[in-house]
């Protein structure tokens, strides 16, 4: 049967991995290509790269890195960050991305997801949603979680799926960085609304968090950055633990 997926996420700023890293055995701990190689060897099922560079020069550097990774690592690559137009889709797909993740770009331009799905297929379009509880309801935030859009998250996500988003990456702002487990209540609410794969993000602190996550129906993948980068948990160790506890993994 299809396995659950473990996905490390790399935030890249002007050509370097932005979050604090602490690895032994790789030459340059902030080099995205080195890190991608290491995660691939450790059994990552997919890689996600977020380009958090603002400048044009940084963008060019990022596409060079993407090309380098895509020409030597043959697992699915998702790219997000600054995707506002079909030209942005085109730019990263030509450099070897398989899926493109959209967030603020889709909020600004509601036509982006349908147009991209029509041109590249739903499987290529990942909706990344930053969601936070406001007055007891789930609300979508824009600009990296800084701006409350006032929109209902469940409505927004359902609408994007109807428009052609083939996968949802749900980032809970409430649990992000807390390392006390994924936001299962939020994930359950989204899983009850849509029937496309859901990638859970925000809150992973230990391997038990992933076991609990995959006990919930409709969650297909777990994404994390810090706990992998800081080597609190290796992907190999996590996957072996999950497999031993009855979650099918690619080992």
């Amino acid at each position: 049967m299809i396995t659950k997926r473990i996905i490390p996420c790399l935030d890249v700023r002007t050509g370097r991995v932005a979050k604090g890293t602490n690895f032994e055995g790789i030459k340059d701990v902030a080099d995205p290509v080195e890190m991608a190689r290491m995660y691939n060897a450790a059994g990552a099922d997919e890689l996600v790269f977020y380009d958090i560079t603002a400048s044009y020069e940084g963008r060019a550097l990022f596409t060079d890195i993407l090309k380098k990774v895509a020409s030597e690592i043959f697992i699915p690559l998702t790219v997000g960050g600054g995707i506002n137009t079909l030209e942005d889709f085109d730019r990263v797909l030509k450099c070897g991305a398989d899926k493109v993740s959209v967030n603020s770009g889709a909020l600004k331009n509601p036509g982006l997801i349908p147009a991209a799905a029509k041109r590249y297929g739903n499987q290529c379009v990942v909706l990344s949603a930053d969601v936070k509880r406001v007055d007891g309801r789930f609300r979508v935030f824009a600009k990296g979680g800084r701006e409350d859009t006032g929109r209902d998250a469940l409505e927004w996500i359902s609408q994007c799926v109807e428009n052609g988003a083939g996968e949802i990456c749900l980032n809970s702002i409430d649990t992000d960085g807390v390392r006390q487990g994924f936001d299962l209540e939020m994930l359950d609410a989204v899983a009850a609304r849509v029937n496309v794969p859901i990638i859970a993000s925000g809150g992973a602190g230990k391997k038990e968090d992933f076991l609990e996550l995959f006990g919930h129906k409709g969650i297909d993948a777990g994404l994390a950055a810090g706990i992998f980068h800081q080597k609190l948990l290796t992907i190999r160790e996590l996957k072996e633990y999950l497999n031993k506890n009855g979650v099918e993994m690619r080992l």
Partner: protein, 202 residues
């Protein structure tokens, strides 16, 4: 040289890179002369069947492909595999290349477990049903990466391997020198590279 057919469907970056990483010469082309000169041909593809078949037909390569497939190994990948079939029921009914008996049908109505998602996106174990030189470097049970909403059906005689998605989903087909994989070998990590290496040695 392996000719990778470029008919404007899908992203060929990874496929070309994966062949190059194996030390194989790959040429992305829409020129019939390249297909004739190649040792092997790969037919990739992502998207909808009808649209892809129309684009392939528009290149004028279909007669060349039919002629060359009798002389050298051909590998269809993902939608490229589906095009090898007689027909597809994706948004209407469309004729395919007809190398493989059977039809391409929607996955959703046939699933035994209706809670499973369509498209199937992710890694699934490949169960080898019939041994074949294509599997020279892999074992049954290795994981490969799928992204699809339709699958090859009524093709038991041509099926070499399947993956379990509450029903056996056609993973690899073969008819003579024509092979097809529903999954993406160029996205299936080391296992996928070993399948491409075996294809290059057929």
């Amino acid at each position: 040289m392996i000719a990778v057919i470029d008919y404007g469907v899908g992203n060929l970056f990874s496929l070309r890179s994966s062949l190059e990483s194996l030390g194989l010469e790959a040429k992305v082309t829409a020129d019939g002369a390249d297909l004739a000169a190649a040792d092997r041909i790969i037919l990739p593809g992502v998207g909808a069947f009808g649209d892809a078949m129309a684009k392939l037909t528009a290149t004028g390569l279909v007669p060349v492909l039919k002629e060359q497939a009798e002389k050298k190994p051909l590998l269809g990948i993902c939608l490229g595999m589906q095009l090898l079939f007689e027909k597809s029921y994706e948004y209407g009914e469309h004729a395919g290349l007809g190398f493989v008996p059977g039809a391409v049908c929607p996955l959703e109505p046939d699933l035994a477990d209706k809670t499973l998602k369509v498209p199937q996106i992710g890694w699934n174990a490949l169960q080898i049903l019939k041994d074949d030189p294509l599997f020279r470097y892999i074992k049954s049970g290795e994981y490969v990466y799928y992204v699809h909403s339709y699958y090859g059906k009524d093709c038991a005689g041509s099926t070499l391997a399947v993956s379990d998605y509450s029903i056996p989903v056609t993973g690899v087909v073969r008819a003579g020198r024509v092979y097809g994989t529903q999954f993406h070998p160029e996205k299936s990590g080391d296992t996928g590279l070993r399948i491409l290496k075996a294809f290059a040695e057929l």
